[in-house]
């Protein structure tokens, strides 16, 4: 299964790497900003736990 | 008779700045009330709130029986109100007559009302067909006054009305206000021109920091400017 060398390897890798890295970076940015803001807001304002 | 204007703890925001920070006010129908106070006290914002142009961030307010918190009622209120502010709301390219006709007919006035308003403000002579762009500040204010008169509002909201008017203009304005009140209108005036405005007003309210300062005693007729100043 897929033993023979994969064609267009460069494209496939790029096609997957770029979106996943972008999603990862965005996720980190959102969580970090979230954590920073969460400290400024009193706990009862945050209706999740 | 229901009061023309009733505010309870009204807060209004300009951007994030609470221009009105909880104000209580009662104005009876047919009354002329003068608002004094330093620049930035919230006078203009108060007039625009009473005109139904600004939403109520907090507190309650009823003007001419319309609840300010309800957007639909605030919108319905506007057709019954006349606001004379620093901005004239006139179309520079149009002539004086065109402007008064447009704003008059927009509010349902007919050709006679428009003609009467123009004559009433002394604009039916040479100025009638002059584009507003070519007018002086005083003449522009007379034109927007004529637009207001043509709409025959029940609540007059005048922001620094005397500013920019010459002597005849001021006489004209006071006369128009008195005639409107005689026919049942209510007038709120915000002004620094104290002796002029006080001769006109039944009552004086001082505005500071977005709320009313302790109400000064009702000015019986024309109270000399000195007495009022003493009262904090």
């Amino acid at each position: 299964m897929g033993a023979v060398a994969m064609t267009h390897v460069g494209y496939v890798v790029a096609g997957w790497a770029i979106p996943l890295v972008a999603l990862g970076l965005y996720a980190v940015r959102v969580v970090v900003r979230g954590r920073r803001l969460a400290e400024q807001v009193p706990p009862e304002e945050r209706r999740w736990s | 008779m229901e009061p023309a204007v009733q505010l309870r703890g009204a807060v209004t925001l300009l951007g994030r700045f609470p221009a009105l920070a909880g104000i209580d006010l009662d104005v009876a129908a047919g009354e002329i009330v003068l608002f004094r106070g330093p620049n930035g006290a919230g006078k203009t914002t108060l007039l625009r709130l009473c005109a139904g142009l600004l939403p109520l961030a907090r507190g309650e307010g009823r003007v001419l029986g319309h609840d300010l918190a309800d957007r639909r009622q605030a919108r319905a209120l506007r057709a019954r109100v006349g606001l004379l502010g620093h901005a004239t709301g006139l179309y520079d390219e149009l002539t004086v007559a065109d402007n008064v006709r447009f704003w008059g007919r927009a509010a349902g006035a007919d050709a006679d009302d428009v003609a009467a308003a123009l004559a009433g403000c002394g604009l039916d002579g040479r100025l009638r067909d002059v584009p507003v762009a070519a007018l002086s500040a005083g003449q522009r204010r007379r034109t927007s006054l004529a637009c207001l008169v043509a709409r025959r509002p029940e609540l007059w909201l005048l922001d620094e009305p005397h500013a920019g008017l010459d002597h005849d203009g001021r006489e004209l304005l006071d006369d128009l206000v008195r005639r409107a009140v005689a026919s049942g209108a209510t007038v709120l005036v915000a002004s620094h021109d104290l002796e002029r405005a006080e001769a006109l007003a039944h009552r004086v309210v001082t505005l500071v920091g977005g709320t009313t300062a302790p109400a000064s005693p009702p000015a019986a007729g024309s109270v000399g400017p000195e007495e009022v100043a003493l009262v904090p």
Binding site: G2, T7, V12, W16, L37, Q40 | A213
Partner: protein, 248 residues
Amino acid sequence: MSAPPTTASRATRAIGGLSLAGLALLLGYALWWSPPDVVQKDSVRIMYVHVPTAIVAFSACAITTLASGMWLRRRSEGWWVLGGASAEVGLLFTGACLVTGSIWGRPTWGTYWDWDPRITSTTLLFILLVGFLALRRVDNESGIAAQRGMRAAIVGLLLFPNVVIVHYSVDWWRSLHQPATITRLDPTIEGEMLFTLMLGIVVFALVFAWLLVHRFRLGWLEERVRATGLDAAIVERRAEADLAGRAR
């Protein structure tokens, strides 16, 4: 136990875990276990990320339109924040969709851009989202949420209908010139390839959900910080009144 100061919660940890596991499984299938396409050979593997991101991008627009509509009716802050969060995450997925689309197209068309209906309408969708977010940013200086954002809500309400009209007209326009021959990207899909594609859609939907929840809570916190500022401003303003009173 007071909540730790983050936007995470049991729910997001669950969704997060699920989407990471799903992603691992998807990579396995997409890159190794699923068969290469007869014509496109292995470049077809990019389809498993391109198509799902397109679907997620379109549904993000649908969520923004729904949220904007609800905000216009109810004026509650939650809908306003959801509209913005969904548009921002949607923009990210639209970008990913465009990048993967052009990378996938390269071996087939020989160029990174082809007036393929989906790529063209997704690009227009990208600009629609950029415009919406730009209007939102310009629009939210004023204080209370109820008064703010009226314009962005109207554009938000029109977002999905516009996306549909644009997609339909571009599709119709290009279908005259590009008969559905092999130059179109979508090879016939069945069997394991179909399964991998479905898996891809589910996994990216989970990732979208996870990001949306976190971005929503971030937006919610931003609103709280803005609101607490208001009470302080009123107190400060009234102090100005006392100050003036004493000074006179």
